[in-house]
């Protein structure tokens, strides 16, 4: 059994699976059940200053793809709609009952020192393990100068983080919005302000669909809609990239990361950790399937770590980071070709037509005795992988390495590169 315990910027938990700040973490009743199911921690649904916000009815939109429900999910919900005092009481209770779990409190108040210091003073009493500054919410709150409206301006991020760190010793995670052009700038600011780590990503600006009868975006609220925040499996690639940007940046490479975005299972979590995350947070998957999914997350990660011989998360954390490089350093001599396993081929023709119309016309359709088969033309195949992805039969198309494996040349020295460095 591997040791799954984790430490994110000073916040400890028995496993790296936390519930992200969202409806699953909005009250004692939920958080209790989540902890009973095995979650390592929660980031409480974002608190604000009373009077509480009000929400609209019809709040979520979803992207279903080819029968798969909720591969993308979006919402126009705001922060907690319960009075501050009720939340504080419940947080205190939960922390008392579950001392080994991480209880982090997410916060969002107007962008002034007085309000931030006021709320910090309020929450220290709960015994929580840390705070998370919600600079991410891209809808509603941002119109009021909060959430992403702060998160998109590095100077504000640094300033607010500093106010918080000046008022408490509690570990402080800064939750970043992905709705920026360079995530590193905001991460720098969080660090400069004294943040103990970053949490990312919050939701991506989105309109998930348009109701073509009402001619309005969905979710539709009495004929109108507003952009929302996108999350779920669809955003994972964006989150992986942003986490990597921070992991690779010399200035933030040691800044703890709580990774969020489309994490649905242990495999997703392992990928984020391999790219530098110390722990992960989950929202959509828990909203879709319930708290029980954490069972496989813990179990699956454990089994995989045992199999690989990793005793702790630190053993494989950041292991994939050095292999993320710039395009210009990729080996241009590396050469792969598609290989079709005739014994499992079902003759759907998708490899042929995808390559024919979409890539390099490198798969020939051969018809003989009423049977058809498909043949790769090695001279034309550029090794792009398209056919392998289009093929519906697992492992029917694989890519075979055909170069000698000993040669290396990258773009920096390539003769076609006008800026090449002559000296190799």
């Amino acid at each position: 059994m591997a040791d799954l315990s984790c430490n994110v910027g000073g916040i400890k938990s028995p496993n790296p699976f936390w519930l992200a700040s969202a409806p699953p973490t909005d009250k004692l009743y939920n958080v209790e059940r989540a902890f009973r199911a095995g979650w390592g921690g929660v980031v409480w649904k974002t608190l604000g200053i009373d009077p509480p916000i009000v929400n609209v009815s019809s709040r979520y939109g979803a992207v279903h793809y080819n029968g798969q429900r909720m591969m993308g999910f979006n919402n126009v919900e705001l922060i907690t709609d319960r009075p501050l005092e009720v939340n504080l009481q419940e947080i205190k209770q939960v922390k008392k009952d579950w001392p080994d779990r991480a209880v982090v409190v997410s916060l969002m108040v107007p962008c002034n020192e007085k309000d931030w210091k006021y709320i910090i003073n309020k929450i220290v009493d709960t015994g929580c393990d840390g705070v998370e500054l919600n600079f991410g919410c891209p809808h509603g709150m941002s119109e009021r100068g909060m959430g992403a409206a702060v998160g998109q301006v590095p100077e504000y991020v640094e300033m607010v983080t500093r106010w918080v760190k000046e008022s408490t010793d509690l570990p402080c995670l800064v939750k970043l919005t992905p709705n920026v052009t360079d995530i590193r700038k905001v991460a720098h600011a969080a660090k400069a302000g004294g943040g103990d780590g970053v949490a990312l990503i919050n939701t991506v600006n989105s309109i998930v669909s348009v109701d073509l009868d009402q001619m309005a975006p969905e979710p539709t609220i009495d004929g109108k809609g507003s952009h929302g925040g996108y999350c779920g499996p669809a955003v994972k690639p964006i989150a992986l990239h942003m986490v990597t940007e921070i992991s690779k940046d010399p200035e933030t490479q040691h800044l703890p990361i709580s990774a969020i975005g489309g994490i649905s299972n242990w495999r997703d979590a392992a990928e984020f950790i391999a790219l530098g995350a110390s722990g992960v947070q989950v929202c959509t998957a828990a909203m879709h399937y319930g708290f029980k999914i954490v069972d496989d997350m813990i179990d699956g990660l454990n089994n995989w770590m045992d199999e690989k011989g990793y005793a702790t998360l630190e053993d494989f954390r950041r292991m994939a980071v050095p292999n993320v490089t710039e395009w210009q350093y990729l080996n241009l001599k590396y050469d792969i070709k598609a290989r079709i396993d005739e014994s499992t081929c079902i003759h759907c023709g998708l490899c042929h037509i995808s390559c024919e119309d979409g890539s390099h016309q490198a798969i020939r359709e051969i018809k003989a005795n009423g049977q058809r088969s498909f043949e790769v033309i090695d001279e034309e195949c550029v090794g792009c992988n398209l056919c392998m992805f289009a093929c519906p039969v697992p492992d029917c198309i694989t890519m075979e390495r055909v170069d000698s494996g000993t040669e290396y040349q990258n773009w920096t020295t390539h003769p076609n590169n006008p800026m090449r460095v002559e000296d190799n």
Partner: protein, 445 residues
């Protein structure tokens, strides 16, 4: 000595209603979407080759998945105007679904037939139209026989701008769709609703109770019309070649099915307690299953060869068995037994293939008691369609045609069961009618 037990009303009205509902109920929207998304959208898809009418299957399925049901129905109906009926009656396991790559992959083909029904039903319910007639050609064509082949031909000719008159011997159109197909495959009067849908195109006059050779003459039709299309199906049935085949209790399956299909009250049909069906095709399966559903206690289907040689597909055989029909192979009827002029049983001779692969009797005998015996050993063309007229040449008992569906007589085309060299299926008849219409149009313009 047994007592012959043949009577009506073996089951309650409620039970009969239950037994004769749709054997394969329509897909609900949610299921249709899941099923549509299982299609891989193959390139040059094998299912399309396997469809006798070459419907662009991946395309119509994709349109279901995007909610473009009108486009989906157009893809189907433009190739096969009886796409609705075919969706219900085609043995898809040997056609499109048999060729589906997912059948190859995991024996779970996309349920193409059911999706086709989903698309065509939705469209027909919408009451919209997709066909427009070309400008009038001024040509008139006679179609003899208003079954699938005739209706398909008439519809395509009408689309191409010709004027069509259908001469039909019976009082309803639709041929075996109305009189032959098993009741639980086409419920709620679908055959007639489909006829109405087809005739909506306009330009098709229908004259029922007009039998060729009796009420109309081929020679006259050839004079009065620019072309004639014969689609009279198969009016006769093969006989067992046994002595006293005409005793009471021995029936022709096709005739009995026609009675059943036209019956307003199934409880009034008389049913034997013990029924033996002789044959190995879908008609045999249909009469056996329908007898069972009407309340027969024991239904045995006896076929003189093995399961592989049966023309009924494996799925039809399985369907019969799950409906309580006992299927026995390698039995050839030898003689009929009777009691007071009513059949009471059959003596069978066991058969086998000799080393040369020829069917031979083993000499072993089996006796089976029966109250009713159905003959379902194939249909044949009535060879005296119009005794007075010059008739087209025949070949192996059917009307001979060339690749353009033209007969030996100038200006006379033919299609459907009356020409077919292969299997007799609705979908083949529809294709013949369509292709003949295209050929006639080419010839006339």
């Amino acid at each position: 000595m047994t007592t012959i037990d043949v009577r009506a009303g073996r089951l309650s009205q409620e039970q009969l209603a239950l037994n004769f509902t749709d054997a394969h109920p329509a897909l609900l929207t949610g299921n249709a979407l899941v099923e549509a998304n299982r299609c891989y959208f193959c390139y040059d898809a094998p299912c399309v080759d396997a469809c006798p009418t070459s419907i662009d299957i991946p395309n119509f399925i994709r349109k279901i998945s995007t909610g473009n049901l009108k486009g989906s129905a157009r893809d189907i109906l433009s190739q096969n105007i009886m796409g609705g009926m075919c969706a219900r009656v085609c043995p898809t396991e040997t056609l499109c679904e048999g060729a589906c790559v997912r059948e190859t992959q995991d024996h779970q083909p996309v349920r193409i037939g059911e999706l086709q029904r989903y698309a065509t039903d939705s469209f027909m319910e919408s009451g919209e139209t997709i066909f427009e007639r070309a400008e009038s050609s001024g040509k008139k064509i006679a179609v003899v026989g208003g079954g699938p082949a005739g209706l398909s031909c008439a519809h395509r000719l009408a689309v191409l701008g010709h004027q069509v008159v259908i001469f039909e011997a019976r009082d309803k159109l639709s041929g075996l769709n109305e009189y032959g197909i098993a009741a639980y495959k086409t419920v709620n009067d679908f055959a007639q609703r489909e006829v109405d849908f087809i005739l909506e195109i306009g330009g098709i006059e229908t004259r029922t109770n007009q039998r060729l050779g009796q009420d109309v003459k081929l020679d006259d039709l050839r004079q009065q019309f620019d072309a004639v299309f014969l689609s009279v199906g198969l009016g006769d049935v093969n006989s067992l070649g046994l002595e006293s085949e005409d005793i009471a209790g021995v029936y022709d399956a096709v005739e009995t099915i026609a009675e059943l299909r036209q019956s307003g009250n199934l409880a009034e049909l008389s049913v034997g307690r013990r029924v033996i069906v002789i044959g190995g095709g879908s008609t045999a399966i249909d009469i056996a299953v329908q007898s069972k559903k009407l309340g027969a206690e024991d239904v045995t289907l006896a076929y003189r060869r093995g399961p592989e040689q049966m023309s009924a597909t494996w799925k039809e055989q399985e369907f019969a068995q799950t409906n309580g029909v006992q299927v026995k192979h390698w039995l050839a009827p030898k003689s009929l037994q009777s009691e007071n002029g009513h059949v009471s049983g059959i003596e069978f001779e066991c058969t086998t293939l000799n080393p040369q692969g020829k069917l031979t009797a083993t000499g072993e005998l089996r006796n089976m008691e029966a109250d009713v015996v159905f003959k379902a050993i194939g249909q044949t063309l009535v060879n005296t369609l119009d005794a007075a007229a010059e008739m087209p040449e025949t070949e192996a008992g059917k009307i001979a045609v060339n690749a353009e569906y033209e007969t030996s007589l100038a200006g006379v085309w033919a299609g459907g069961d009356c020409i077919s060299s292969g299997e007799d299926l609705t979908v083949h008849a529809v294709e013949h009618g369509k292709q003949a219409a295209i050929a006639i149009n080419r010839k006339l313009s």
